[in-house]
Symmetry: C2
Subunit: 205 residues, 2 copies
């Protein structure tokens, strides 16, 4: 089983890269599908889950807690419950034994036993704001400054949520096989290059 995980700064095009890579390689693809599964399993609204995961996944966790979610099962807290359910679903996906690409959700850490190929996607702020404006109608009418604030907030949440389960830092070169800067680049073309890189990586092993 070959797994590609994609971590990314909000607005850097990581999700599109993941989707395109999955298409090019004929792999399964997981991203928002996971939210739907949490929603179904827990009977919680998808929008609510998405907000928790984007903006406050790390909140209300014991500060002393690290590296294992195991000890948290008894604690009654909805944020925690959603994160734990997400982790469970990600492990279940891996247990299917099929090749797949997964975007976000600290899958690189959660699935480390399967030796995934881990990509991090970043871009400069200008470029991320432009991508947000192009891609999502909900940003229409928002000022660039507001979008920037939102990007910073979401990425801060991502870094902090990662800190709950690992010492390896979000976006740090030590944590990934490949870090890509998509500033001014077309994701479609990058995807082709990354495909070569990943295939070579597996052949190399």
């Amino acid at each position: 089983m070959r797994i590609i995980t994609i971590s990314r700064e909000f607005g850097s095009g990581g999700r599109e890269l993941g989707k395109r890579l999955a298409d090019l390689l004929g792999f399964d693809y997981y991203d928002k599908e996971i939210i739907s599964a949490i929603s179904k399993n827990k009977g919680i609204d998808e929008g609510y889950i998405e907000n928790v995961l984007n903006n406050q996944g790390w909140k209300n966790f014991p500060i002393t807690f690290r590296k294992s979610f195991a000890g948290l099962n008894g604690i009654n807290n909805l944020n925690m419950d959603i994160l734990l359910e997400q982790n469970k679903i990600i492990k279940e996906i891996a247990s299917l034994g099929k090749d797949f690409v997964i975007v976000g959700r600290n899958a690189d850490v959660l699935l480390s036993e399967f030796k995934p190929f881990n990509i991090f996607v970043c871009a400069d702020m200008e470029s991320k704001i432009n991508r947000c404006i192009e891609r999502a109608y909900e940003n229409e009418g928002l000022k660039r400054k507001e979008i920037e604030k939102n990007i910073i907030k979401i990425d801060k949440n991502r870094a902090k949520t990662r800190e709950l389960i690992t010492d390896s830092l979000w976006g740090d070169r030590k944590s990934y096989h490949l870090i890509l800067n998509t500033t001014d680049l077309e994701i479609k073309k990058i995807a082709e290059s990354v495909k070569y890189f990943v295939i070579n990586f597996w052949e190399n092993k």
Copy 2:
């Protein structure tokens, strides 16, 4: 003119990657050639220059100094003199107008006006120590712990020398287009993938 700069952790295979990329693309290649040029221009021993650049390039610089070497020309200090000469030679190479690959020496910062494609190469410590032992006979008989100490020292010097001329951090994702982790990988195969990536990048522009 197309320029590829390669920054790297010591022992990560960055130099080999640079050489191979230059061969694959038919570009000129600069690395130790620069030390020979400094030696010739300044009448200083190559070994001495290499030691200064590897181990103490940043030393004796005024702490308040940043982002421009211009103000230093009057200061009498051999380390400074060597660094300034190196910077001058790098600019002269660019002024030839030919495509080239350059390894190390903060060329990404010094040549930023030419919009180079900037690569950073890293690897885990285990893998870097192994590479050092395989590649360089001068490491024969050195204990792994000693090699590790040396790697850490050289990389610390690289980071500090970079700090003299820019705010952008050595090895940080914001400073490069591509960061590669070469742990357990054959540089020869990586070079092919990176070639695709770089060509796509320039076509994309």
